[in-house]
């Protein structure tokens, strides 16, 4: 699970940074339905990139891992449905990583795991308190 999570972090960081710094390379990929929101194309791409970067940071730190995995899965499925064809198939398969991440508890390198462990077992290293 760690490998899948960090692979997804790299994926979304790369795409997010690329969209932030080179928005004009991405405007052609905007779906036609985005035209119902007359938001400038570059702005829409940058906002999407910003969202992906933050989602990647959350995933990297392992904060809200499962909810973020679900959100990113939905995000990728929307992209897959909009793009269609080979790109759509690729994004659909990538989205399945999110399904895998969301379907199991957060791994032991995440802050979610550490927070849960502290909550259920507040003593260091699980040592029982001697009275």
């Amino acid at each position: 699970m760690k490998i899948l999570r960090y692979a997804w972090v790299v994926l979304f960081l790369w795409f997010g940074l690329s969209q932030m710094f080179f928005p004009n390379n991405w405007t052609a990929f905007l779906p036609t339905w985005s035209g119902y929101m007359p938001i400038p194309a570059a702005m829409l791409v940058k906002l999407n990139g910003w969202f992906e970067i933050f989602a990647a940071i959350f995933l990297f730190l392992g904060i809200f891992t499962r909810p973020i995995a679900i959100i990113l899965t939905a995000h990728l499925l929307i992209i897959a449905a909009s793009a269609g064809g080979a790109i759509g198939v690729r994004d659909f398969i990538l989205a399945m990583i999110g399904v895998a991440l969301a379907s199991v508890p957060a791994d032991n390198w995440t802050m979610d795991f550490k927070a849960k462990k502290t909550k259920t077992d507040p003593t260091p290293d699980g040592a029982s308190i001697q009275t």
Partner: protein
Amino acid sequence: MRTKIASILIILFILGFGAIVYYTRPVMNLKNNVLNIPAGPLASTNNNTPTPNPISNSPSENIFAMGQIAIHNNPADCWSTINDSVYDLTDWINRHPGGPQAIESLCGTDGSALFSGQHGRSRRAQSALELLKIGNLQI
């Protein structure tokens, strides 16, 4: 600890979101293109010396003459005026749900009649254009 980091990240996300919306509005590009604008909107009526526009980040402070809008009359550089507001529609041509032709026909012209004919007095359509606004028409 986790909650604190999450809160900081969420606040940063919201601040960044706002900054992106503010700094990528079409009106922010005007300063870069100021030398391409031939004459000051109000100065040209009093003398023949072209003066650059005092471009502001606030669309309500930019006033353009119809002649200035008329030179932005192609799909690569498309301005239009609708109900006395001036819009940079370049970015939106290829994303218009009704097809690019409808927007291309507005480039460099007063599109009020066409816009009203298509969208009536739809407040939603009007407010949706707000992000594309770069100024007001000199009356």
